[in-house]
């Protein structure tokens, strides 16, 4: 990945935050910041690096290089893809695909549902708005894992077990995402909507043409919420979709921790692949993170 400035489309360029300062005074702290940022990023990623390296080395080395700590703790001596081989013998590809299908479906459906609801709660005026907002807030205060058992009974009564629908549904109506989007929509000047209404635009038009294009940062935030909920889902898939064809990635990885031994190599290999998908998505949307609102036309 190259630098942010190069990735940014020309229209997105914005003035430097500190244009008044002379160049020489600005250079030194920049280098300090780069070093600081690098150190922090390395610290955060170090445990993952170790897992990734352990995915690529013979299992014996994983623990024999632990102590005493040396360079070999973090670098592989011998490389092997055997761990990935065992992973795919257990049809991990299917599990990763399932997780991806469920998460992407949740993202798309969830964003649509949550954004429309948030728009209504932020912009429209109608009786009972406070009550509905309260319902949405309460819905994210309830620990999902704790209500999974009664929810499972409901889903089984509806014969939804072992379906993608059953895996997707609990993730789509996310109160926290609604809460986030509503907060953002409240910050959009109401005059914009009023003016558009005067010109005869319907509420759908206001939502679609004015609010959504202005809300990229909030939509990405809401997307993160929806994404993490499903990507981490473990207990619910175990309960509602236990068929081997429906296994999701976290469950498939856990299956390598058997009762008579744990295949750490395969577990780490699975973790690497599981982290890869969101990594690609993040890089895919990278430029939208770095784009400021000023360049998106609000101000």
């Amino acid at each position: 990945m190259s630098t942010q400035t190069q990735q940014r489309p020309p229209t997105g360029a914005r003035p430097e935050p500190e244009p008044a300062r002379p160049r020489s005074r600005r250079q030194r702290p920049r280098i300090g910041l780069i070093v600081l940022g690098t150190v922090i990023a390395v610290l955060f990623v170090l445990p993952l690096w170790w897992a990734a390296v352990s995915a690529l080395r013979p299992q014996r080395e994983t623990f024999s290089t632990l102590s005493p700590v040396s360079l070999w703790t973090l670098l592989p001596r011998g490389l092997t893809v055997g761990n990935f081989g065992r992973l795919f013998d257990a049809e991990f590809g299917r599990a990763l695909l399932n997780s991806t299908i469920v998460t992407v479906a949740t993202l798309v459906i969830g964003l649509a549902i949550c954004a429309t609801a948030a728009f209504a709660l932020a912009v429209l005026k109608f009786p009972g708005r406070g009550v509905i907002f309260a319902v949405m807030v309460i819905s994210f205060l309830i620990p999902f894992d704790a209500i999974a058992i009664p929810l499972m009974s409901i889903f089984r009564d509806a014969h939804l077990e072992n379906t993608y629908l059953a895996l997707v549904l609990p993730g789509v109506g996310n109160g926290l995402a609604v809460f986030l989007l509503r907060g953002f929509f409240l910050g959009v000047p109401i005059d914009l909507a009023e003016a558009a209404r005067v010109e005869g635009l319907g509420w759908w038009g206001v939502f679609w043409r004015i609010y959504l294009p202005l809300s990229r940062p909030a939509l990405i935030g809401a997307g993160l919420i929806l994404f993490v909920f499903q990507w981490q889902a473990y207990l619910w898939p175990l309960l509602i979709a236990p068929d081997p064809e429906m296994t999701v990635a976290p469950v498939a990885i856990a299956q390598f921790a058997g009762q008579q031994g744990v295949d750490f190599g395969a577990i780490f290999a699975g973790a690497v692949l599981t982290a890869l998908v969101p990594l690609l998505i993040l890089l895919f949307f990278q430029r939208y993170f770095t784009q400021s609102v000023s360049s998106s036309g609000l101000k």
Partner: protein, 428 residues
């Protein structure tokens, strides 16, 4: 541009979802087109049941067995939750033997007294006994288990310590193992002794039993705690001390203990016969001996394993019985189900020992230790409705004692917790 990408993503997702929707074959139903599909929920390693299922399906072309393999740690909780919701998807499931009473008393197991009749004389009576609750057979035992002591030959030689004998009848004492482990550490070993399943009742119950402390439960229905008697206190004071003195390491999860022995550096390892395969793979040079006892105590070893039961909510109980009977009572079926476990079906057990012994001298020693300990020194876990609460309270107490809490104090506290937690079963 953002919207183009977002739309592309949406389109892709819709396509994938639509394609995936077609893939759902709706196989939840029990019988269709004259073929019965049985769902068998278990937590065994992949491939464990491949042989027995293939053989059974060949002999019974109208019955298909589908497995749902759940991660080991989640089996009890998910099966419990699903049966609580009367999930008719489950036909057969694996029952951890000490939990049988809890499952049976909640109505989660179909009585199998007819199968018991067939099993008499075929299956080890002890195994049938522990799968019986309130006078009824609730599951069919498949395997049993035992424990032994592994030692690292190199490390003991370096420390000039005499290796414990492989003779099944002479157990070395825990006191000796501790002292020898210390010597080995002085001679360069990282750790003296490691338990395979640190903090788990399964492996630690024999410590108290060796000193006459009993299983920790007493009274009507085994619902009164008895974990503060002399045997328990002495056994767990010793347990506390081996960690306190550094002979055994704190803070290693049970999943990571075999690795410590396999890669060398640990003198003694108390574990099951299944650990041998992993040690061989790592090329460790080790010897085996029977599970130790305390100097003033008697030998005692962990036992029991998995059994399989039938869900009362199953739509295909007859077919399930057929498969269960084949898997556990039929000699050929039980042999095919053995995998690397110890079968309780008598013929399969003999075949297992013969095959094990044929793998070399060390495995012959393991086979001898297994045969002797299963028959003579095994102590089952208590059969009681309160076992799950008991086990969860005790495992926590063991962890705290390992981490340095005084054994007497912690066992007293565990006794109080148990008194409270088990009350609801007593009042029934």
């Amino acid at each position: 541009m953002f919207w183009t990408r977002a739309l592309a993503l949406t389109g892709a997702a819709t396509l994938v979802l639509a394609a995936a929707g077609c893939g759902d074959d709706g196989n939840s139903g029990g019988e269709s087109g004259g073929t019965t599909t049985l769902t068998f929920v278990n937590a065994q390693d992949p491939g464990t049941f491949d042989k027995v299922i293939a053989a059974f399906e060949k002999a019974n072309p109208t019955i298909k067995i589908k497995q749902q393999v759940v991660p080991f740690d989640d089996l009890n909780s998910t099966v419990q939750s699903r049966l609580g919701a009367k999930d008719s998807d489950i036909d057969l499931y694996d029952v951890d033997e000490p939990r049988l009473a809890a499952f049976a008393s909640r109505g989660f197991l179909e009585p199998l007294d007819d199968l018991r009749g067939q099993a008499e004389g075929q299956i080890d009576p002890n195994a049938l006994k522990i799968t019986t609750f309130d006078g009824k057979q609730y599951a069919m035992p498949r395997w049993t288990s035992t424990q032994l002591l592994y030692y690292n030959k190199d490390l003991l030689t370096k420390a000039r310590v005499t290796a414990p004998a492989a003779d099944p009848k002479t157990s070395v004492t825990w006191e000796q193992v501790t002292a020898d482990g210390k010597k080995a550490q002085e001679a360069g070993a990282k750790y003296g002794l490691i338990f395979d399943q640190v903090d788990r009742y399964y492996q630690l119950q024999p410590l108290a039993e060796s000193l006459g402390g009993g299983p920790g439960l007493t009274g009507d229905g085994l619902l009164q705690p008895d974990v503060t008697n002399a045997g328990w206190t002495r056994a767990f004071t010793w347990y506390h001390d081996i960690f306190q003195s550094g002979v055994a390491p704190r803070g290693i999860n049970p999943e990571q203990t075999p690795g410590l022995f396999a890669t060398g550096g640990t003198a003694f390892f108390a574990g099951g016969p299944w650990n041998a395969a992993a040690f061989d793979k790592e090329g460790a040079d080790y010897g085996v001996a029977p599970f130790p006892k305390f100097a003033q105590g008697k030998p005692a070893t962990s036992t029991d394993s998995w059994s399989t039961g039938i869900s009362p909510f199953s739509d295909s109980k007859d077919a399930a019985r057929k498969f269960l009977s084949y898997m556990t009572i039929d000699p050929a079926g039980a042999t095919a189900t053995t995998s690397n476990n110890i079968p309780v079906q008598k013929e399969a057990f003999q075949t297992y020992l013969k095959n094990l012994g044929a793998k070399g001298e060390r495995y012959q020693q393991i086979a001898d230790i297994i045969e002797y300990s299963v028959a003579t020194t095994a102590v089952s876990r208590p059969i009681t409705t309160g076992f799950v609460d008991f086990e969860s309270v005790m495992n926590k107490a063991f962890a705290d004692i390992r981490n340095g809490t005084d054994a007497t104090t912690r066992l007293t506290q565990a006794g109080q917790e148990l008194d409270r937690d088990l009350a609801k079963y007593r009042n029934k």
